[in-house]
Amino acid sequence: MSEELKAAVAAGVLGSEESFRSLLQSVVEVARAIFGAKASSIFLFDEDTDELVFEAVAGEGAESLIGQRFPSSTGVAGWVLVTRQPLVIEDVTEDPRFSKEVAESTGFVPKGLMAVPLLYDERSLGVLEVLDRPERAQFSLVEMDLLGLFANQAAIALDLLRRARRAAAVLAESGEGADVVARLAATVEGLEDEQRTAGVKLLAALEEVLRRNEGG
């Protein structure tokens, strides 16, 4: 990859992880608000370790959960990931084993949860969960459809996040200062008009100096 191309790619990649994380965060915040739930979270499937990782959390337990991992094919989230089927469970606390597991890993015991797979293209990327909806007489299929719509949005955001991370990793691995150049390009890209013009001039001057040194 040429330095120019790397810089161009980097301008799109660096900093985008943060944006995509914000998008995921926004999805769980809205899901939580729409369903009137106590918490909502998104798990990303980590291919390298075959685990599910808390990627975004809204509500109770939010601070401590991000980054926590657990096996990819056990528990309700694992079942949903593997089977690609959504699941709604009420009265989870009636199940002593389930409560214990959840309580140990999250410090928060839900009364019920909705879990839906995040499917993008052919892939099952993760799971969206909404915990503790307010008690209602009966869950309806309309809510299930609504959950599916949120899942689509979350799946797209999760896919973008995965791509951004992979691209960032490739840039970092390519070495020879490519990541420094990339970061610089991303920084200039992010500047306001006037500062940006000045920044580009400064970089052009730097380039000239470096080339002269190279020639001399």
Partner: protein, 288 residues
């Protein structure tokens, strides 16, 4: 002049043993040998279909997360196996003592048992060995279950991987011709997934009625039937009972009904069984 025509009337043909006769043709003298046992009534009612049946003798396979055999709503399972893929890609099927790794398999087993108390339940666990490779385990588990000749296979699993679609299609067709009824959860999200879309299986979505015997035939497939799938009380881990929603809980309702019908009419093929379910659907036979 050409050669004389052989005398067709007098030509003697060797007798071909029955087992070597091609299966794609039917000689005139063989018609009696395939006369079918089913006598259809003028009107197929629920009483004809499964009246007095408790699913005795019918083997129902729960292809899922395992089953907690000692749960009161499950009432025991006849066999539990776990499927995994070994280091050399070999399929390993071994007796399973892990129970249920999620709760879902137990829920499905309990629903089937509730409808067909006398059926046999066999748990085939295809979950727990990680997500990576779970597609292969699912296929291996389904293949094993089809080879065992179970009467009903309940599967709430699907895959979105196109690469598995062809093999799954072959497996579901093999099941269909071996008289194994595959009951599969439909997807309620707008994605392509398998095997529920195949016509050789019975695909199931949810309705919101609270009655386990209310089920609807869908005139707009690929989802063929709607069964109870909202706010269902089910068995869960640790002897618990919880309320659940999802097509994956509607599916064992249809599996239970299949067990009831096959308990009374074991000779039915999947095609005939599906026809009976159609004729006894709440929106067709009116639940009579």
């Amino acid at each position: 002049m050409g050669q004389p025509e052989p005398d067709k009337e007098k030509r003697e043909l060797p007798e071909i043993p029955k087992e070597y006769r091609p299966a794609w043709s039917l000689p005139a003298d063989a018609v009696d040998s395939i006369s079918l046992a089913v006598e259809w009534p003028g009107q197929v009612t629920r009483d004809w279909a499964w009246g007095d049946s408790a699913g005795k003798g019918v083997r129902v396979c729960i292809l899922d997360s395992g089953v907690e055999a000692d749960h009161p709503l499950v009432g025991g399972v006849q066999r539990s196996v776990a499927v995994s893929i070994g280091e050399d890609d070999e399929v390993i099927v071994e007796d399973d003592s892990e129970g249920d790794l999620c709760g879902h398999g137990t829920a499905c087993a309990g629903i089937v048992r509730g409808l067909a108390p006398d059926c046999e339940l066999i748990s085939v666990r295809v979950l727990g060995a990680g997500f990576t490779g779970s597609g292969g385990v699912l296929l291996a588990g389904l293949r094993w279950a089809v080879e065992q000749g179970f009467d009903v296979i309940n599967m709430s699993l699907s895959t979105t991987k196109h690469q598995f679609a062809g093999i799954l299609h072959e497996l579901t067709d093999a099941a269909y011709f071996r008289r194994t009824v595959l009951v599969a959860s439909a997807h309620n999200m707008p994605v392509e997934s398998y095997p529920w879309r195949f016509s050789s299986v019975i695909s199931v979505g949810s309705h919101e009625e609270p009655d386990p015997l209310t089920f609807f035939s869908n005139p707009n497939p690929p989802v063929e039937f709607f069964a109870r799938g909202v706010d269902v009380e089910v068995a869960w881990l640790g002897g618990a009972r919880i309320r659940c929603t999802g097509n994956s809980f509607a599916t064992p309702h249809m599996s239970g009904l299949c067990a009831l019908v096959l308990g009374k009419h074991p000779e039915l093929t999947p095609f005939q069984l599906k026809s009976v379910l159609y004729l006894t659907s709440t929106n067709v036979g009116g639940g009579r």
